[in-house]
Amino acid sequence: MKLKTKIASKSSKSKPAKKSPLPSAVCVLSDSEASITLDVKVEGIESIFGAAYLMMDKAFVFLSGDRAKKIVVVLRPKDEALPLRALADEFLSDLESQKVRWAVAKNNLPVREFIAEQAVLIANGTIPPPSASEAAPEPAAEELTADQRSEIERLIAEVESEIKTMNDRKVALDPKGIKASWEETQEKKA
């Protein structure tokens, strides 16, 4: 699954924020159910499952399709008085938030894992806890020590390597980029 965000480099300037792309959803309302068809490559499997999961207090949720391609999310309200349109809109809104939450989570997983490991080492006495002087505010980027700089670069390199591996795998399966979305094509051109 391709990560759509890039890791910031030291010298990155702020880029214009991306507006959330229109969802790839196709929504069909019947008498008793709302069916939303989603492109997994656009929305992300975790985001689709996450948004569907969050609907469980209000609806019975059923998924069909193929995790690699398209998923149809069927929502049947538990309370028949709940309008289907509102249910579908809520799902789509949560889907957009899930995409952001999962993007942030994936971008930061190596850092969270690293800090969790550091916590174990501090608690077990293997490395000392930060002293009062170490707890001073972080220096500006240009004032980083060589160790701090290399640590950040190592983490960034690790994540970028993961992204590259995923991209290479995708290119191997689709060398002509036939399955790439319009947005991905524009990114490559840029």
Binding site: T5, K6, I7, A8, K10, S12, S14, K15, P16, A17, K18, K19, S20, G50, Y53, L54, M55, M56, D57, E90, S93, D94, E96, S97, V100, R101, A103, V104, A105, N107, N108, V111, R112, F114, I115, A116, Q118, A119, L121, I122, A123, N124, P129, P130, E134, A135, P137, E138, A140, A141, E151, I152
Partner: protein, 508 residues
């Protein structure tokens, strides 16, 4: 939107510079938190600017974002790791410190919601005998934590007074011989208290706690005597009596009795009156606790229970009343649940509350011992067993050693299920750093130790309480009151001082 809340429709987002955090729309402002316990309150406009990547160095907001661990390129890894260690210190504890011993199932009351599933006072076959009591204490002292807290529960523990005395004296002898720190506490209904018993408890430094649900008409409805009759008068009498003795002797002031209330459907209209009673009796704290549909309470839920949203409403209204009393100077009574959450949120420390830990305190922090020597992950687990399901039984004092209890599959299941990184909704929740998922509650209500958080009553009520607390933290007047509570709670711990190893110690 879902209970996790969502971004505004069409919100512009640039995720590349964002560190790991969870967010929550609080209505007009946003809360951000991270795994390491830091939190940040932003106006919605600032939140949207931040999410869009429009806050750069030089922006007035930048230093605050930087200091709260939400800017990816500005993280102090070691400090965040140290924060995590401090906040989750219990993950490194060498075994449970709290041991709840049910010395009898007999009781002389018939509380409407009784978890303990008590039996008639004539049923002495449900008393813990001396041999089992001895083996229970031996097992407790075989667990590795250097600090041990033994809490007597029941039924009504005073109905098996000889065993309460035996365990107290035997445990204190073992603590002295083995240089262990020992605290002892008794939870009883006060209706069977006598001066002699009180003398023993004082002499042996056993702290005392009772149940006081509120004014007479409420307490007596919730907690009548077995054959009918009004019990509240006796609770109040002994509370005042014990306070009088404590206040007359400076050495006894740490033994001031505590009281706990249980919120039933009948309590919902009595919030201020319950608080007024606690104030009148000079009690320092009130703990607004929800009733859990576990064990016997599950059977009678339609009579005594309520929706989790109803509890949250009751909690907020009653907490407002308590805070107003503090602001006006009429009382400085504290609310215990708020204090627990504030200790986690503001001080970044673990307050020792088993249910709100990741992983939960089941086995790792506490064990429950039934009258017959069976060992359970918690007292709630014991109540499930009493209804016929032994799933939370992890050993027996006559046959098990500590290794077999900690290695038990049920122990591992409870630990795994209550680690919030394994919970789909919790891992994205802004309250994750401060919350917990109780496996027994979810097993009883949703048939799985993992549960199903979108529909979990536990999640709904705790999320609601967290919403209340964070809104209060944003209000300067309430914040001032809460800071004072934290200061007082800190002072109480400091006042107790250090006690020589092996000597009995105070339970606070």
């Amino acid at each position: 939107m879902s209970r996790l809340t969502a971004l505004a429709n069409g919100a512009a987002v640039e995720t590349s510079g964002l560190a790991a955090f969870n967010f929550r729309d609080m209505g007009g402002w946003h809360l951000l938190t991270n795994d390491w316990g830091q939190f940040l309150m932003l106006s919605t406009a600032d939140f949207e600017r931040f999410m869009a990547g429009k806050v750069e160095a030089g922006d007035p907001l930048y230093p605050e974002l930087e200091s709260r661990g939400v800017m990816k390129a500005r993280l102090d890894f070691k400090q965040l790791a140290a924060n995590y260690v401090k906040k989750n210190s219990f993950q490194w504890f060498p075994g449970p410190s709290l041991h709840m011993i049910v010395v009898t199932l007999r009781c002389n009351q018939k509380c409407q919601y009784c978890h303990s599933s008590v039996v008639d006072p004539s049923r002495t076959d449900t008393d813990m005998d001396i041999e089992t009591a001895r083996k229970t204490v031996d097992f407790i002292f075989s667990t590795p934590n250097p600090t041990i807290c033994i809490e007597f529960q029941g039924g009504e523990p005073l109905l098996n007074w000889p065993v309460v005395k035996f365990i107290t004296e035997y445990a204190q002898a073992k603590a002295k011989a083995g240089n262990r720190k020992l605290l002892m506490a008794l939870v009883c209904n006060f209706t069977l208290m006598t001066e002699d018993k009180l003398d023993f408890l004082f002499d042996h430094h056993v702290s005392i706690c009772t149940s006081l649900d509120g004014p007479a008409e409420l307490h007596n409805q919730n907690r009548p005597f077995l054959g009918g009759g009004e019990a509240q008068q006796k609770v109040v009498y002994w509370l005042e009596k014990i306070q009088e003795r404590c206040n007359s002797d400076v050495k006894k002031k740490y033994y001031l009795p505590g009281a706990l209330m249980t919120t039933t459907r009948f309590s919902m209209d009595y919030g201020p009156q319950i608080v007024d009673l606690y104030v009148k009796l000079g009690l320092e704290q009130i703990f607004l606790r929800p009733l859990s549909p576990i064990g016997y309470a599950k059977r009678v839920w339609k009579d005594v229970g309520y929706a989790p949203e109803e509890f949250v409403r009751f909690y907020e209204e009653t907490l407002d009343y308590i805070i107003d009393l503090n602001i006006s100077g009429k009382s400085d009574i504290m609310e215990r649940m708020a204090l627990i959450l504030l200790t986690k949120i503001v001080k970044g420390e673990d307050p020792g509350f088993m249910d709100l830990r990741s992983p939960a305190g089941a086995v790792l922090g506490c064990l429950a011992y039934n009258y017959n020597g069976e060992i359970f992950v918690s007292d709630e687990g014991r109540m499930v067993d009493h209804q016929g399901d032994p799933i939370f039984r992890v050993g027996d004092v006559a046959k098990s050693d500590w290794a077999s209890v900690i290695d038990h599959p049920t122990t591992r299941a409870c630990v795994t299920a209550s680690t919030l990184d394994n919970q789909p909704m919790c891992q994205q929740c802004a309250y994750k750093p401060y919350c917990g998922a109780e496996p027994v509650f979810h097993y009883e209500t949703q048939k799985s130790v993992f549960g199903q958080m979108p529909t979990s009553g536990w999640c709904i009520s705790h999320m609601g309480v967290f919403d209340v607390i964070f809104r209060k933290l944003r209000d300067p007047r309430s914040r001032k009151v809460m800071d004072k509570w934290l200061e007082r709670d800190q002072c109480r711990w400091q006042e107790s001082g250090n006690v020589p190893a092996g000597e009995p110690e105070v339970v606070l």
